[in-house]
Every structure is written in C-alpha cells, then in structure tokens.
C-alpha cells in the first residue's frame, strides 16, 4: 500500500473518455478536478506528453471533484459529462481547464456551446442532475484506487507518485515504454 502500489480499482473501459490509440503501450489515467489549480497546471503538461508520445500514449480523464475546497468542481464535472452525451467531451474538457476561474453555471453552458454541443439539451440534463451518478461513480472509483489529491495520475494502472513536471513525467513514461 505504499505509494506506487496503489492501483486502479476500475479498469479502463468503453465508458471512459479516451484520447490516443487503443493499442498504446502506456495508458495514463488522470483523476482531475476542473477547479483545482494544480490540475490546471498539469493540463498543458499532459497535452505536451500527448504530443511527444503521439502513437504510444493513451489518455483517460475521470472526475475527482473535491467539492469541499472547490465549490464549482462538481457542477463543471457534471457539465462535461452532459456535453459528453452529445459526443463533445474533449473540447469541453479543454475549455473548462482554460477557464478554471469562471465555472459559474451560465458560463458552463457557453462553454458547452463552444464545444459544439446543444446548450439547451445540456441545461436540461444538468437541471435533472442527469450526470451526477456518472461523476459520483468516478469519484468512488478514485477513492477506491488510492487517489490522494488532485490530480492523481495512474500509469498503466499504478499510481504515479513522482513529480508531474514535464521532464520527470516524460522520463517516467519513456522508461515505461522501454520496459514494455
């Protein structure tokens, strides 16, 4: 149970939001919170990793909203999942991280539209909390996997406990590629 031995309780599956090739040698799962400043800092780093490891890295994003410290995190996560129902998860995910400081309900609908979704449908889903279960399931999966803050990364199923600055993270993923 020390550090790196914590591992994903829920394997990557068909319900996940995935970028990158299915047969990638390395799968990076991020449990993140759209209002968390550290996740905001990690966002361009993860994008850079995706550029470097285009054909070998698969990225999965799951929700870990820490509502006690980030009052808008849960709403943003539910909005991202509502937009995902229309097939536009990733542009919404990017917009939320680019606008971390304004995650008010009306802004979320603007981002939804910018992401290519029908904002009325999104509003309707959010009004009935239609994606709350999805977000809560992600959260529970994170807790059962030993997530220990936001963001928590898992590389090929194991919690990544080193620094996620670009150089360290790239080196770790490269070593994982060399190993597999």
């Amino acid at each position: 149970m020390i550090g790196g031995e914590a591992h994903l309780a829920i394997p990557v599956g068909g319900d996940d939001h995935v970028q990158g090739p299915d047969d990638a040698a390395v799968t990076l799962v991020e449990y993140g919170d759209y209002e968390c400043p550290y996740c905001g800092q990690a966002f361009p780093i993860v994008q850079e990793l995706q550029r470097v490891f285009t054909s070998t890295l698969r990225l999965v994003f799951r929700n870990l909203p820490l509502s006690n410290v980030h009052p808008h995190a849960e709403g943003a996560a539910e909005a991202a999942e509502a937009v995902a129902l229309q097939g536009h998860f990733w542009p919404m995910h990017d917009l939320l991280f680019q606008h971390q400081r304004d995650l008010r309900a009306e802004s979320l609908l603007q981002y939804a539209e910018q992401a290519g979704a029908d904002a009325h449908q999104v509003a309707e889903v959010l009004a009935r909390r239609g994606t709350r279960d999805r977000v809560e399931n992600d959260l529970e999966g994170a807790l059962r996997s030993g997530a220990n803050g936001t963001p928590t990364f898992f590389v090929n199923g194991y919690r990544y406990d080193q620094s996620w600055d670009f150089a360290t993270f790239r080196e770790f993923i490269q070593a994982e590629l060399d190993r597999t």
Partner: protein
Amino acid sequence: MADANGERTADDPGSSTTKGSPGEQLDLPKEPLQPGAPAPDFSLPETPDQRVTLSELRGPVVLIFYPADWSPVCGDELSMFQAASKLFAKQGGQLLGISVDGPWSHIAFRESRKLTFPLLADFEPKGQVSRAYGVYRSEEGSSARATFVLDRDHMIAWSYRSPIGIVPGVDGPLRALEALS
C-alpha cells in the same frame, strides 16, 4: 517524494529503534499499535469547550493522525477523507482527525476546508494521544501521518503509517472498515 527517511510502515514492523529522549516515558509504543491491540481511550478537545471521548462513541472509528493543520499535503489527505465521508458513513464509521494543533486552529482549518468530521486537539499535554498510539515524532513535535481503523469494540482492526512525503489514499482504511461488516 522517495522514501528517503527509510520510514517503516505499520505493515512492516522491522526492528524497533528505541530513542530515549529525556522525559520520554519508556513504556509507550515506538511503533504504531498493531491490529488486535485495544485502542487506548482518550478525551480530546474538538473546540475550546467541547471534548470527544473515544469510549463514549458507538460503532467503528477511523482515527486519522496528521502532522499539522494548514500544510497543503495534510489538506489534501483530509479532503480525500471528506470526499469519501459518505462511503465511510455507509459503514457506520466515525472519522476523527487528530493533530497537535490547538482547538482554535482546528476550528479555522475545518471551516476553510469545509470538513464535516471533527478534528481533535492533541495539544495539552502535547502529543499524549499520538504517543499512546505510537505515532508521535518527538524530533518534529508532531504526529506522524498514520491511520487506525477501530472495530465496534474499539480494538484496532487496521493501522498504517505513511512514509513522510507520501500522502496515502483512503482505499486502505475503507477496505478495512468494509471488512468489519
């Protein structure tokens, strides 16, 4: 965040180094109390005029010892427990945070992090309860980062001390609690 201090965990008792510092009681445990041991009773302030007494609590208890209010790392750990509070409540587990900070610090910290479980002040005599559980760090003057799951008879069912610098998740105590029922 490597385990540079060679800290051992509750799962790996190893060889115990007994450090005798002046005034230290020699019959106190030097390592975290292990499963099967009775949990030492305590009565600690939650606020300046309110105490929590272990033996007055019914049902299983999760004791979360942590080094200090306000340090970002502890904040993360307690936020994870907060996020998991519904899952712990489902098992009837009472969460209690414990550090050597005083009750006024706890009140402010708890408000700022919107924590719904009590934070207890192991403040006077300083670290007495942490010492009784074998998780006091005399050099630093603070509790170690350690978690205990107590069953409904308040016997220790599970314990874990984290390496310094690594924040544990809540998966371990949650599984231990669920295994009780």
